[in-house]
């Protein structure tokens, strides 16, 4: 899975592309952990390029969110497509991982 990364001020955006599942989730989770360990705790995951997410993908986001929050930061998600939003809503995970329409809006108060 392709994963592009960009630093915007004190924040970092991660943009995975393709299916976000058992195979592709661990590298994303590992990258978030590495960022948090390096002091970058404000992370936006741009899901615009993700056409499918499963429970492993959700697990990577939740795990990343937990790590970031423990260090005073957060993980936010942006540009989630229809399937991603449907799965977040079904599992009520949108309550703690609410999708922002754009990366800019996710970054607005950081």
């Amino acid at each position: 899975m392709e994963l592009t990364e960009q630093e915007i001020g004190t924040c970092v955006t991660l943009a995975p592309v393709g299916k976000f599942n058992l195979v592709s989730a661990p590298p994303v989770k590992a990258r978030i952990d590495a960022l948090v360990a390096g002091g970058k705790v404000k992370i936006v995951v741009d899901l615009g390029g993700v056409d499918f997410i499963d429970s492993s993908g959700l697990g990577a986001l939740i795990g990343g969110l937990k790590a970031a929050r423990q260090h005073g930061g957060d993980v936010r998600i942006a540009c989630a497509g229809e399937q991603v939003r449907a799965v977040l809503k079904l599992t009520n995970l949108d309550r703690i991982l609410s999708p922002y329409p754009t990366v800019e809006e996710a970054l607005h108060d950081w």
Binding site: S56, I62, K66, N92
Partner: protein, 407 residues
């Protein structure tokens, strides 16, 4: 594999599980290293020898009497036959006397778990030859690689077998209720499970030791849960979830059982970066009262040909960094209705569209009603539908119906 006692039975079981790229890879290596036209992985079963991976010959079965490897498995170390035609055991063998007219054989016996020799990794040539000590060592090393793969396969199979035995074998015999549950794991083991248990006591909380309600007012608790992820790691956590929820459910109201399950399993779940979606409900077989907790599962519904009511709440799954307060929802299951709970693997084939999934459920209910289908047939038809529409995840369905005639 639990009833398997002899090496040939074990070989037959391995063969039934099939070959695969991991075996093909070793065979290709063997063929390239030794420069023989043929390399094969043969499992010596009770009646047949199964070639599950091969280069230069077809995979498939042949009678065990024609097997050369049947002699290899009788010895601890490598068997080499420099000229098959000069060995009276093999001179009349169809592949020596006829067919490819093979002359040379070398095979290393392969041990399965507990040391039973189940087959051989062998190389064959059209001309007589002899291997040197280094080549003997290399063939034995390749055999060890295959043995390792066989051991992993046996271990995974056993793990899946244990998990299948942890699922309820048959629904509890409760007058007035018909129940069926079905799981198809995408791999040998997985993170989906369902469960049911009879909870003594009345809905108002009277205990089973209250003589006024003893043995007359049992509730049935139905659970379907999905541990994030797939395979063996998810199945380990699923076993813990099931045991903990069962234990708490026995003694306390449902919402408290879920909260305590969350507390008890928090360390295991967060330590493994996992979460669990869970739907669990208690049904009164006599009046159809259903209390439930939906912890981020979202895929339970009461269905009939008249319509579908989702039994969904806003609660979070278990194992998240934010703890939730799980409150009871309530509904009533009428006599012509079914309670259906499925896993997200079933939901996926509807492109994760609730509207499509719910209207498909309504059609299933109408079909079941018209054709007087059993709850087991309904559960099967739901999984069959998902299977035939490209499901790739674990699939689970539980179906419960009240039965007017015995209620």
């Amino acid at each position: 594999m639990t009833s398997i006692t002899t090496a040939p039975q074990l070989a037959d079981a391995f063969a039934a599980a099939g070959g695969g790229e991991r075996f093909d890879r070793v065979i290709r290596l063997a063929q390239a290293i030794f420069g023989t036209p043929i390399a094969a992985l043969n499992l010596v079963g009770e009646d047949e020898q199964h070639t599950i991976a091969a280069v230069g010959m077809r995979t498939g079965d042949r009678p065990v009497e024609e097997s050369i490897c049947q002699y290899t498995v009788q010895q601890a170390g490598l068997m080499e036959v420099p000229d098959l035609r000069a060995d009276e055991r093999f001179a009349d063998n169809p592949i020596v006397a006829g067919g490819p007219r093979l002359r040379f054989y070398a095979g290393v016996p392969l041990s399965g778990p507990s040391g039973r020799r189940v087959g051989a990794l062998c190389i064959l040539d059209l001309v007589p030859r002899e291997l040197g000590p280094l080549e003997h060592k290399m063939l034995a090393d390749l055999g060890a690689v295959v043995e390792r793969e066989l051991a992993i396969e046996a271990e995974m199979y056993r793990a899946g077998d244990v998990q299948r035995r942890l699922l309820p074998a048959a629904p509890p015999d409760v007058p007035g209720l018909e129940m069926a549950g079905l799981v198809r794991q995408a791999r040998e083991a997985g993170g989906d499970f369902y469960d049911w248990q009879v909870i003594p006591g009345s809905p108002r909380g009277r205990r089973h030791d209250d003589p006024a309600t003893a043995a007359t007012h049992e509730l049935v608790q139905v659970t379907l849960a999905d541990v994030m992820g797939k395979g063996l790691p998810a199945s380990l956590l699923a076993s813990e979830m099931r045991a903990v929820l069962r234990t708490h459910s026995r003694y306390v109201p449902l919402d408290i059982a879920v909260a305590r399950t969350s507390e008890t399993t928090e360390a295991s779940l967060t330590g493994n970066g996992a979460f669990v979606t869970l739907w669990t409900g208690r049904l009164d077989p006599i009046d159809g009262t259903l209390t439930y907790v939906d912890a981020g599962h979202g895929l339970a519904a009461i269905v009939s040909e008249r319509g579908v009511r989702r039994l969904a709440q806003d609660h979070l799954p278990l194992g998240l960094p934010v703890l939730d307060e799980w409150k009871l929802g309530m509904d009533v299951l009428a006599l012509d209705e079914m309670l259906v709970v499925v896993s997200d693997g079933v939901f996926n084939v509807f492109d994760d569209s609730l509207d499509r999934a719910m209207s498909a459920l309504q059609r299933t209910a109408a079909w079941a009603e018209t054709n007087r289908k059993s709850v087991a047939a309904v559960a099967r038809s739901i999984l069959d539908y998902a299977d035939s529409h490209g499901a790739s995840d674990d699939l689970t369905a539980v179906v419960v119906r009240r039965n007017a005639t015995t209620a």
